[in-house]
């Protein structure tokens, strides 16, 4: 049935060959309606789940090894187990997708809101709670509209609300619109924002959401795609789910590929088996680099991830392997850059994003990211100095001393994250700005040096030099005279 091409009513989505766990309805132009959802098995999983005791439902998720799709790739089932037996407790859905290059959750929310709502209700039921907050990024107006409409339908049809489908289970879902801040994608900042405060991350510890989250109550924050997987898992069972993908990363992932490929877009891809090369060059996927150019570098997991180069093309998209190679799959956003790309410019582009989106809370991130941006801009403007390159690395190590924290976790059988992560900031936004700089500097130092080689002093620098160029001896003579 796959057309192997873009789906016109789902902009950006490519209908490629392969299993369709979360995108199965995308091919219908009315995929966002309850009628279509019900006609294609929507809410049947929920109906079944409500017949099983909640702990069993939670165990099923653990058994399926449903990895979080937000960026850290932590197994949802294990995360759920961290909640202390305290009520009230909350489920918060992180729909504040804003990692540069990522646009998969937007499609899920716009194209199939009922799948997400069903997933939310299943999760709430399994977690034994009855209040869910759906936090949708401020800029995603269509997603908000569709979810709002779907929620109305679902309330009407008794899939949400009091006594769901005649049972004594009651769950409310509240839709919350964000105000458009990247940092609110960080779970504690999202919680702050949801509480009505300025979105700034909280320090972990003590504010681990599972223990002290929304209103300081136990809170699970899950990504949209993670929850969208639940209806399929519950409808088809964990065995069917584990058929797809690798052993450590079962199921599929939505990957958003952008940049210099012939067919950028969002693909539903089996986790852990497809290599980067297949994704970029395969006919089923991106169909090669534009104009037959050579690949120069690519970002494997969103703007925060250290860059990869052609030699990493044959890695499978498996979190542990990518982690071991020094980067992360993160939010599933791949940015491909070909040989025409200016590494310094690309680096500046990513760093500028983080500098603009820093929430301003921690000094190293607030001041450091902007300083990095200023230096990179100055190098590009032709005013670079040889010492700037060491300075950039130094600033980086002042924000994020030592190795970068890797997005992997030992409980998923992956290489452990150094904990607490080596960062002088509360959240990883600051360290994220260091990744592109270190990547670019390590690999393309000559490009930086070439720009610096022909540089002239910057206006501020020469002005500063003028102001301080006092002849000390002359001044001393004047004083003594």
């Amino acid at each position: 049935m796959a057309t192997n091409d873009y789906v016109s009513h789902a902009p950006g989505y490519v209908d490629n060959e392969g299993p369709k766990i979360v995108t199965s309805r995308f091919l219908h132009d009315d995929s966002h309606t309850l009628a279509r959802s019900e006609a294609t098995g929507g809410y049947s999983a929920l109906r079944a789940v409500l017949q099983t005791p909640p702990p069993e439902a939670a165990d099923l998720v653990k058994e399926a090894v449903l990895l979080g799709r937000g960026g850290a790739g932590f197994p949802a089932g294990i995360k759920w187990g961290f909640m202390p037996p305290v009520w009230p407790r909350y489920l918060v859905v992180n729909g504040d997708e804003s990692e540069p290059g990522t646009y998969k959750d937007r499609l899920l929310m716009e194209r199939d809101p009922h799948q997400l709502i069903e997933g939310c209700i299943i999760a709430c039921y399994a977690l034994g709670l009855n209040q869910c907050f759906l936090y949708v990024r401020g800029e995603m107006a269509l997603a908000q509209e569709r979810i709002a409409a779907a929620l109305n339908e679902a309330y009407e049809a008794s899939y949400v609300g009091k006594n769901i489908m005649g049972t004594d289970v009651s769950i409310d879902v509240v839709l919350h619109w964000g105000a458009g801040a990247y940092i609110v994608g960080e779970e504690t900042a999202l919680i702050e924002s949801l509480e009505g405060n300025r979105g700034m991350p909280r320090l972990k510890p003590p504010f681990f959401p599972a223990a002290k989250g929304l209103y300081l109550k136990p809170t699970i924050v899950n990504n949209v795609e993670t929850l969208a997987n639940l209806p399929w898992i519950f409808a088809n069972g964990t065995e069917a789910y584990k058929q797809y993908g690798s052993e450590r990363s079962p199921g599929t992932r939505m990957l958003a590929v952008s940049g210099h490929v012939n067919r950028p877009g969002v693909y539903e891809v089996e986790q852990g088996v497809v290599t980067f090369r297949e994704l970029f060059y395969g006919d089923n996927y991106c169909q090669g680099i534009r104009d037959g150019n050579e690949l120069k570098m690519f970002i494997p997991g969103g703007g925060s991830a250290p860059w990869f180069f052609p030699e990493q093309l044959d890695l499978p998209m498996e979190a542990a392997d990518v982690g071991a190679a020094g980067s992360m799959l993160g939010s599933g956003a791949l940015v491909v850059m070909d040989e025409t790309t200016d590494a310094v410019k690309a680096c500046l582009r990513v760093v500028r994003f983080f500098a603009r989106e820093s929430c301003g809370k921690c000094t190293p991130c607030r001041e450091g990211t902007t300083w990095e941006e200023q230096i990179l801009q100055r190098i590009l403007d032709g005013h670079g100095r040889p010492e700037d390159l060491d300075l950039l690395e130094d600033i980086g190590s002042q924000i994020s001393p030592g190795d970068y924290p890797k997005a992997a976790h030992e409980e998923a059988g992956l290489t452990a994250v150094p904990f607490p992560p080596k960062q002088t900031t509360i959240c990883p936004l600051g360290p994220s700005s260091v990744a592109p700089i270190t990547s670019a500097l390590r690999r393309f130092r000559h490009e930086f040096e070439a720009k610096i080689g022909s540089a002239t002093p910057s206006p501020t620098e020469s002005r500063a030099a003028d102001e301080t160029s006092i002849d000390v001896d002359e001044a001393a003579e004047e004083v003594s005279a």
Binding site: A181, I183, R198, L203, P206, A355, R356, E357, S358, C359, G360, K361, C362, T363, P364, R366, E367, G368, T369, T370, W371, Q374, I375, R378, R385, E387, L391, D394, Q398, I399, P401, P418, F419, P420, P421, K422, Q423, T424, T425, I426, S458, T460, E461, A464
Partner: protein
């Protein structure tokens, strides 16, 4: 005066700090535990009186909790057993270096012209922990140089290091969330909301806690450099909370006041009135020489002995024809000296330090006294039967607010209108003026079904449940309404004693050292120490009054009736300050000789025949007695202008002229006489150990058997009238505010506040002015709708420009009813 001074038992969490094995208290933050053990960890955002946020990252230290060393903010990290901490390791030093380099990158180096220069934590930390030089060659961030965020505070955003201290203070401590972060990244800035200045009563605290020169106080800007300042510790005297302060001067001029962290009282916070009203001391309008007025309105400067001679002649009138008003402004020592002069030499008992806006002295002298700490104890019950503490005792307000918000105290509010704490109250009894005694009697007698005084059965039951529960009850009581008789509050206290027999009481009376004045006998019927034992004072003093004197109401009535020959105004201004302006004016006009001891020419002292210049705050040494009975030092920092003298010296001089003299001519002699004459009174020596702690408490155990009798019933409400509620605002036309140029402009003009219900009932619609009818007079004034005003009442504070509400008040009236209607067109012209 810190939290840890031997008060907390070390429960012992073992940890290692730089290789030394130490013990922290349970739950103690690492930054505090280190500080207590002599290791200072640099910080900007952390403040021990506010919740930590971990923003500035300056306090990062290397911590190993068994999973390898990692950099952790010590201000957010409670010490856990076996924690290993390195504050001087290479990694820690690098992190500190880095944070300082980042902070200084965009910080302007305008230290030479910055008020903070020389006492700046950023400077200090840069010296001690910083990299020494900057590698930042880019253009620094620029903002418009200081922008006023309120009338008192200027914000220089270039200097701001975004530590969140001021913003946290505003929202968490003061409850005035008027400043906040806006923007993001390196363009994050602190600012106000459009059209909403940071007009908090506590705005000056943000200047004090700002770790850089970003926030500066308008009155102090460019006035002095820190290294030129001289300082003494003292006590704020503008209200009765007795906040501990540091008074700073340069070139014999007061320039700044800083809050001192006293555990028992103000936790380092001050109201802007306490902080900035020192300007009055520097005022050019001070009375600096003795003056007499023979006829007409012009004064003639005279020598002290001539003024004293006139005063002595007047004081030699028959004792019952001599009266004294005021004395609450004085130090405890001066109050004793004046008490001895008036009662022990002149022999009159007509003395009252309260200006008709207080309560019978027997209440505050006789009720078991609570300390602020007792009132604010975690999990206790606070009963508020007092004026809005934010307006009249702002420092106490901060403590009460903290107790309710952070420490789980329960607030029962029994006031005629909403106060600033109403939103936090568990139950609000909005008693119609005149009914509070009845309401409390109903709760005491368990008559909990019918509505009493506007309070329905549900609220009565709820109040009774809380007040008779297991939690300890403390009562903050005062006169919340000057338009109803103080009798009702006394009745309510009687009811409260029956409801909660073990309750303790904190008096919320007006004027700074009023509690000291009552203790020292500047009130009819009592001798110093709350004593009625005339016999013992007959031995110590030349004489004692042989009659029972009158309170202010009685004194002014007697004066108006021509029964008083000589009236002494001890810093009192009844013409402007007494609730019945008409009576005060009549009284002062009828008196043969008025002797005013004052710092300024006020409406009343301008009518005096003898005006004796007194030294004031910042110029006198002495003692303050706050509302909980805590003694603390008042210290002189500058010399009094001209021939102004401390009040006790004036008393001693007058006594010597009348004869016999008071028996002391130094503060030491005066203090030792107080200790020997007043039972249980300590020997005061502020140079000794006394000054090191929070100050001794006096007379807390006094628990008289007070007779209350039946609660008086209020007059029946008139069918169409509204009952008036009159109280005071922090910024008013009082002497200290008006003589402080920075504060004088903060006074808002009077407007009548009406409840939404009454606005509808009275068909006020689009009207902006109302006509108030009272007796056969009518007045036009503006009004606003205020949901905090109870139905069938109207609220108007006293002492505001535009309309003097005292025109509606009369001494002796139990409640005040007014008729309100929309003003007719054209009425408002002119």
């Amino acid at each position: 005066m810190t939290a840890t001074e031997g008060t907390e038992a070390v429960t012992g969490v073992p940890f290692t700090l730089n290789g030394t094995d130490l013990e922290a208290n349970e739950g103690e933050l690492l930054i505090d535990a280190a500080e207590r053990n002599g290791v200072h960890i640099p910080r900007f955002c952390y403040h021990n009186r506010m919740k930590p946020v971990g923003m500035c990252r300056m306090c990062l230290v290397e911590v190993d909790t068994g999973r390898g060393p990692a950099l952790q903010p010590s201000c957010m990290l409670p010490v856990t057993p076996e924690m290993k901490v390195e504050t001087e390791s290479e990694a820690t030093k690098e992190a500190q270096d880095g944070v300082l380099e980042f902070l200084l990158a965009n910080h302007p180096l305008d230290c030479p012209v910055c008020d903070k220069g020389g006492e700046c934590p950023l400077q200090d930390n840069a010296y001690a922990f910083g990299p020494g030089e900057s590698r930042f060659v880019e253009e620094k961030r620029h903002y418009e140089k200081p922008i006023p965020i309120s009338d008192l505070v200027h914000l220089d955003r270039e200097r701001c290091i975004l530590c969140d201290r001021c913003t946290r203070f505003a929202s968490e401590v003061a409850g005035d969330p008027l400043i906040h972060f806006i923007g993001r990244g390196s363009h994050t800035e602190v600012n106000t909301f459009p059209e909403h200045p940071f007009s908090s009563y506590f705005s000056g605290n943000t200047v004090q806690i700002c770790p850089v020169g970003a926030l500066t106080a308008a009155p102090y800007r460019f006035k002095a450099r820190p290294w030129d300042l001289e300082a003494v510790e003292s006590t704020a005297t503008v209200d009765a909370s007795g906040a501990r302060i540091l008074v700073q001067s340069t070139r014999n001029e007061l320039v700044r006041i800083i809050g001192v962290d006293s555990d028992a009282v103000n936790w380092s916070w001050l109201s802007d009135k306490e902080r900035f009203s020192y300007e009055a001391t520097n005022s050019d309008l001070r009375v600096t020489e003795p003056e007499v007025r023979d006829e007409g309105l012009t004064f003639r400067t005279v020598r002290w002995n001539e003024a004293a001679k006139t005063a002595v002649t007047a004081l030699s009138a028959p004792p019952e024809r001599v009266a004294v008003l005021g004395g609450a402004r004085l130090t405890l020592e001066s109050q004793y000296a004046w008490s001895k002069l008036i009662k022990g030499v002149v022999g009159t008992d007509n003395v009252d330090a309260q200006m008709g806006d207080g309560l019978p002295a027997a209440l505050s002298l006789g009720l078991p006294r609570a300390t602020i700490d007792e009132v604010c104890r975690p999990g206790g019950v606070i009963v508020l039967m007092a004026p809005d503490p934010k307006e009249e005792l702002p420092t106490l307000y901060l403590r009460l607010r903290h107790a309710i918000v952070e420490d789980g105290a329960t607030l029962v509010e029994i006031t005629p209108r909403d106060t600033s704490l109403s939103d936090l109250a568990a139950v609000r009894l909005r008693c119609t003026p005149g009914t509070v005694g009845q309401v409390l009697a109903a709760i005491a007698d368990e008559r909990l079904d019918d509505t009493v005084g506007g309070v329905d059965g549900f609220q009565l039951r709820r109040a009774r449940t809380i007040l008779t529960g297991a939690k300890p009850v403390s009562v903050v009581y005062g006169r919340p309404n000057l338009a109803e008789s103080g009798r009702y509050v006394a009745d309510a206290v009687g009811g409260m004693q029956r409801i909660a027999p073990d309750a303790t009481y904190l008096p919320a009376l007006r004027r700074g050292n009023v509690n000291g004045a009552l203790e020292m006998g500047l009130t009819p019927g009592f001798l110093p120490g709350g004593s009625r034992d005339k016999a013992s004072f007959e031995e110590a003093w030349p004489t004692v009054p042989d009659f029972d004197g009158k309170e202010t109401d009685g004194i002014l009535k007697a004066a108006a009736a021509g029964e008083i020959d000589t009236l002494v105004l001890l810093g009192a201004d009844p013409v402007d300050d007494y609730p019945d302006a008409e009576l005060a004016r009549q009284a002062l006009e009828a008196v043969r000789t008025i002797i005013a001891v004052d710092c300024f020419r006020t409406a009343s002292s301008s009518l005096a025949h003898v005006l004796l210049p007194a030294a004031m705050f910042g110029e006198v040494d002495g003692t303050f007695c706050n509302l909980e009975g805590r003694l603390s030092p008042i210290r002189a920092k500058v010399t009094a202008p001209g021939l102004a003298r401390p009040d006790w010296m004036i008393a001693a001089d007058l006594a010597a002229a009348i004869g016999p003299d008071l028996g002391f001519d130094s503060l030491e002699q005066l203090r030792s006489e107080m200790a020997s004459t007043i039972e249980g009174f300590p020997e005061i020596d502020w140079e000794g150990e006394l000054a090191l702690a929070d100050g001794p408490l006096i007379r807390l155990g006094r628990n008289w058997d007070l007779e209350f009798g039946q609660a008086a019933s209020a007059p029946a409400p008139s069918s169409s009238g509204l009952r008036l509620v009159v109280d005071r605002k922090l910024w008013d036309q009082g002497t200290m505010v008006q003589r402080s140029p920075s504060l004088a402009g903060l006074v808002q003009s009077a407007e009548l506040r009406l409840s939404p219900t009454d606005v509808q009932l009275l068909n006020l619609g689009d009207a902006q002015w109302v006509t108030v009818e009272h007796g056969d007079e009518s007045f036009d004034l503006p009004f606003t709708v205020d949901a905090g005003v109870a139905a069938r009442t109207a609220w108007l504070p006293m002492g505001l420009p535009g309309f003097d509400v005292r025109q509606l008040l009369a001494t002796g009236r139990s409640v005040t009813n007014i008729e309100v209607r929309a003003a007719e067109e054209g009425d408002t012209d002119g």
